[in-house]
Symmetry: C2
Subunit: 370 residues, 2 copies
């Protein structure tokens, strides 16, 4: 018989009311439910597979000004680790199957296959059957993101957390890193553990270095893994904006203000000179305007606009992930669909309909009341 999900999830509500917010999906003939948005205090991405709860990865608070935020957040040693720019994946073994859940709790067939290929997690799950591996999937060939890291040729899964899958309780940082070593998992880079008073300077030094290298940022964590704070580089703010303004009417409005303010607070905290602020501002402006101009020109030239991804693997899982996107209402434009040594390789574009349609509207003389 079914569990009482409300009490399992620690929610003071009727189980029916809780469940109605979950979407039902199928994976390899198995029905499961997942929660696309946080509700009733339950983390976004929480999934129910059979009798098993796989708790969503909690959203992590962001510092806009590092030093005071560290002071407020931590009263003991602070581990500083790298924050990678890929997509958040949880890996759990349920009834013998290793499953990979995306941020929204979708069991992604492509990611599941990728994880199966990348790592052998059985020894870990034999020892920790009720835990899940939380990490970042990074690399050019995936259906979700496009950030390239020079050292990652195809795809890589870097663990940044091990948690109890039902309660979400995290393993401490040191124990988690040891476990990754023991079972042969990649870990995010660890830059050291510092007293709270020393952590901001250490993190800032790393931020400067990561920024030079075009990387995303750092996560600061209490050693028990329970408190965390993220802080990001100017390079990733610009990269986010370039991405957003390639498809301005899908992402521009939501992205731009937050990134501008991250830049502004960072410039103030770093006590930048007028000349440095000007440079930062100019680069910010370029990250915003130039992709928007390019995209309008592409639409004008009749070219398709959208996010292009290449994925490769077992034909069935490739088919499943494309079906999932289509079921979600995405319009896909397939540029390439080939077999390569038994694998299926597909290059496709998630068509950016808002950008295409609104840009066309204005180019054809449409007006706006503002």
């Amino acid at each position: 018989m079914a569990r009482d999900w409300a009490s399992t999830l620690g929610v003071d509500a009727d189980a029916e009311d809780v469940l109605e917010h979950f979407d039902t999906e199928w994976f390899r003939g198995r029905r499961y439910r997942h929660l696309g948005d946080a509700r009733h205090g339950i983390e976004r991405g929480t999934a129910l597979v059979g009798d098993t709860v796989v708790r969503g990865y909690p959203s992590m608070p962001r510092a806009l000004v590092l030093e005071p935020a560290v002071e407020v957040a931590f009263d003991g040693p602070v581990a500083v680790e790298e924050k990678l720019n890929g997509y958040n994946v949880r890996v759990a073994r349920v009834d013998g199957d290793v499953l990979a859940f995306t941020r929204s709790g979708f069991v992604c067939p492509y990611t599941t296959r990728t994880v199966e290929r990348l790592m052998d997690a059985d020894a870990f799950f034999d020892d920790y059957p009720e835990h899940m591996l939380c990490g970042e999937l990074v690399g050019p060939e995936n259906p979700y993101t496009n950030h390239d890291y020079a050292e990652v040729e195809t795809v890589c899964f870097s663990v940044f957390g091990i948690r109890h899958r039902e309660t979400g309780a995290p393993m401490g940082v040191e124990r988690r890193r040891d476990a990754c070593g023991t079972y042969g998992f990649d870990s995010v880079a660890h830059f050291g553990t510092f007293a709270p008073s020393a952590a901001p300077a250490a993190a800032r030094e790393r931020i400067h270095d990561l920024n030079e290298r075009g990387r995303e940022g750092v996560v600061l964590k209490s050693t028990d893994g329970r408190r965390a704070l993220k802080y990001t580089t100017s390079a990733i703010h610009r990269a986010d904006l370039e991405h957003a303004f390639e498809l301005p009417f899908e992402y521009g409005r939501d992205f731009v203000f937050t990134r501008v303010m991250r830049e502004a607070f960072q410039a103030v905290e770093f006590e930048e000179s007028d000349e440095r602020v000007r440079e930062r501002a100019q680069r910010l402006g370029e990250a915003i305007l130039r992709p928007a101009v390019e995209t309008i020109r592409s639409v004008e030239a009749g070219e398709p606009v959208g996010e292009t991804h290449t994925i490769r693997g077992e034909p069935e899982s490739i088919g499943d992930v494309l079906s999932y996107f289509r079921d979600q209402g995405l319009e896909l434009h397939v540029e390439r669909d080939e077999r390569d040594d038994g694998e299926r390789v597909v290059t496709f574009t998630k068509v950016a309909r808002s950008t295409r349609d609104k840009t066309t509207y204005y180019l054809e003389g449409g007006t706006i009341d503002e």
Copy 2:
């Protein structure tokens, strides 16, 4: 007895339903109602004074790409006039009193006094008792805006429309300009009337010139005054952004995306080279980031942040306008309050509470979930 406002306003709704959206205000002991937001298809700013309707000024469509928008909008001669950056005011004579209505339909005591001082409108209203003058109030000393024009030392009212106050029907462009000449009113600059095919090039040439001079833009109008289109300069986009990011948490989020897109479409329509787009982008970035950095530094230094205005005039009207702002919930910080030759001169800041409070929150280590 009261008029049937619903039918007077041409609305198919119950008069009670229409009236409930109007706010009641008093001006010199007279009660009136005004509509702060468009409702039931009635223009924002519509006011009911006694039995008189003063129709709101219609919102004007904006072109993002000038040439096709002109082609769509006009099938006859197009007048090109300057769009000024001040605040929109309608002037009507009701029961013998000349009243100045702001965009939201508020009878502004300060603006009414200013208009009384600036112009003698009685001869006009004797001949056109049911019309209203629509214009831009421009100049440094006003309680609403701060854009400075080199040639305007104090304040000036430039007429851009004459309309029937109840129906809103506009006078044709030529007749309106003649009337302004006859009655001695300032008019917005008129750059000529062109065939629709020639209007975009003419307007663009003006835009280049206005942009060089830091001015706002142009309005294109059918000669009967019924169809209109606005189009603005890069200079005003940047000025808007500088203003918005001086108080980022009041205005930044709403302003930034729209201005970026105006810039992007303009760069494409003007067929700018990569180098020109880069320059435009850099200047855009500076207009966004630098004021935000300055404001954060001001808050860090404990300085007040907000919009500062100086107004001068008859003590009673100065008091009335300050009371009106306080009644609207604004927090005012008065920096100067003096008598000067019988006039009261007040410099005050509309305190930007969101910017002050949110900036302080982040500077004190507050975090955000995004």
